[in-house]
């Protein structure tokens, strides 16, 4: 939302001194609109670059991140792909068999989520170091609002972006635009080490871009193929359609796609400062089974004993492991990372142990090191239930949290609701539908 500012403040103050009854004098002679400027920071192929040891090692090679082994056999998809692999028609998510058929010389590297998380955290902290309130959308993609930083870095967006680039210290694509979506479009279309700043309206800038840009949002990505089949090639064509018609055809995703194409978007949501409580344990020999369970018990005890916890409970944790490679060596095997949200905040080591141990069976290979980090901290132990009935808002929050936890544990379809579509229909299957539960 644009905000209005008085441009000639001293004149206003002078008018105020004239006394009561001169309200008309309070209006400045000139007002202007402050246009929001969102800066998008894009580190292309971030996860692949970290796993492969740097962007330089990807030059001229068809490389992709190997499937993580969690998908069923035959449906395992590759991760990020290098530029050379992309030129051969490979794309992230493609089935491994199809990728190898298209590109027999494809090299697969094991994903390294631990290193990716650490490297991305360093990048975010570097951006926060210049004063930016950063929203992290995924590893390699972040954005922040430039408005509050102009005064610190000389008064222009270019200088703010220059400061961000220096802070990152690594080749990045940066774009500035009035909305997050448009800023990402600017960053995607700019050359490496260059900056594109969109001064025009977001809708005008997006007009000629392909609808495939909508793949950058998980909510609108499923629409791209359908829109292309319907002959809607550009975001301008999409924006020219009635929003009601898109909503009628595609539901909330259609409305969201129209908003984005029309240059509307939500402002960034900066991440909250978090206290990082983490423990890790090097295992002298590659371990699995009971040895890992024992190591996990030690990590839980260490984590709960950390003084920074100050008696607070754990709401979620992330279990990590560094893996041996296929030849039993300690390098090149990548790493493994799984977040767990507890059913309720707890500091009971037995309950945490019961929640975490089943996850160890998901390890794709023996581990050389095991790590445990507290994602979020809950209220202190001994928190009692209220005696009087709780407010509706509290119950709604709890329901929202329960739905979120259920979805983390069992996928997005874990919480659905029955919606009456045409309850009086004489054709029974038209009466009710299952739809995602929106708490």
């Amino acid at each position: 939302m644009p905000s209005w500012t008085w441009r000639s403040l001293p004149a206003d103050i002078g008018a105020l001194r004239l006394g009561v009854g001169r309200v008309a004098d309070l209006r400045p002679s000139i007002v202007r609109t402050c246009v929001r400027m969102i800066v998008c920071v894009l580190l292309p192929r971030f996860e692949l670059a970290v796993a492969a040891g740097g962007l330089q090692s990807l030059v001229g090679r068809a490389v992709a991140i190997a499937p993580d082994g969690s998908a069923p056999a035959g449906r395992a998809g590759i991760g990020e792909v290098s530029g050379a692999a992309q030129a051969l028609g490979l794309r992230p998510g493609m089935a491994l068999g199809e990728a190898l058929t298209r590109c027999p010389e494809l090299e697969l590297v094991a994903g390294d989520p631990i290193a990716v998380t650490a490297a991305w955290e360093r990048a975010l902290q570097a951006l926060e170091g210049i004063g930016a309130a950063v929203e992290s959308q995924r590893p390699g993609l972040a954005c922040f609002e430039a408005a509050g930083l102009r005064g610190l870095y000389g008064g222009s967006e270019e200088l703010v972006i220059g400061a961000a680039r220096r802070a990152l210290g690594t080749p990045a694509r940066l774009g500035g635009a009035p909305t997050r979506f448009c800023a990402l479009a600017a960053a995607l279309t700019t050359r490496p080490r260059r900056t594109t700043i969109v001064r025009e309206a977001a809708r005008d800038h997006l007009r000629n871009l392909p609808v495939s840009m909508l793949r950058s949002r998980s909510s609108t990505a499923p629409l791209v193929q359908m829109l292309e089949r319907l002959g809607i090639a550009t975001l301008g064509e999409l924006a020219a359609m009635p929003r009601a018609a898109l909503t009628d055809r595609f539901g909330a995703a259609g409305a969201e796609a129209h908003r984005l194409a029309s240059g509307e978007d939500d402002p960034p949501t900066p991440r909250r400062p978090v206290e990082l409580l983490a423990e890790s344990l090097e295992l002298h020999e590659s371990a699995s089974g009971p040895a890992l369970e024992h190591a996990l018990g030690i990590l839980i005890d260490r984590l709960l004993a950390r003084p920074e916890r100050r008696g607070r409970t754990l709401r979620g944790a992330t279990l990590t492991a560094r893996l041996v490679d296929a030849h039993g060596r300690g390098t090149g095997g990548g790493s493994w990372r799984v977040p767990i949200t507890f059913r309720e905040s707890t500091a009971d080591p037995q309950r945490i142990r019961l929640a975490l141990i089943p996850r160890l069976t998901l390890l794709p290979a023996p581990a050389l090191a095991l790590g445990l980090a507290a994602d979020r901290l809950g209220p202190p132990e001994g928190n009692q239930q209220a005696l009087l009935p709780e407010a509706i808002e509290l119950r709604r929050d709890r329901l929202h949290e329960a739905v979120r936890q259920a979805r983390v544990a069992a996928g997005p379809n874990a919480a659905l609701r029955v919606v009456g579509v045409d309850t009086a229909s004489r054709i029974p299957e038209r009466r009710m539908m299952l739809a995602p539960f929106e708490s």
Binding site: S218, V338, P339, P412, R426, P428, E429
Partner: protein, 89 residues
């Protein structure tokens, strides 16, 4: 299987009460007398649906809402174009 949630797309939305194939025995008038081995005790209602006749996939069904001898409410229909029997519950 990883606990990582899958991408939420449009797949979560689906119809409830999609029909499934039923084994139906009828009397001389074509009225159901046994559904999946359950004898019919009472016929509550019957109606005819003709829909989408203006498309390539028209829908013509004769519905019966029945009560089985075990007391269960069952809705069955006969596809008047294909001749197959299906039930909703």
């Amino acid at each position: 299987m990883s606990p990582k949630p899958k991408d939420s797309g449009l797949s979560a939305t689906r119809r409830l009460g999609d029909p499934r194939t039923a084994d139906v025995r009828v009397d001389g008038d074509g009225t159901p007398v046994e559904i999946d081995g359950q004898p019919v005790a009472h016929i509550r209602e019957s109606w005819l649906i003709e829909d989408r006749w203006w498309t390539d996939q028209p829908l013509r069904r004769r519905y019966w809402e029945l009560v089985s001898q075990s007391g269960r409410d069952i809705v069955v229909f006969r596809d008047l174009l294909g001749g197959s029997w299906s039930r909703h519950r």
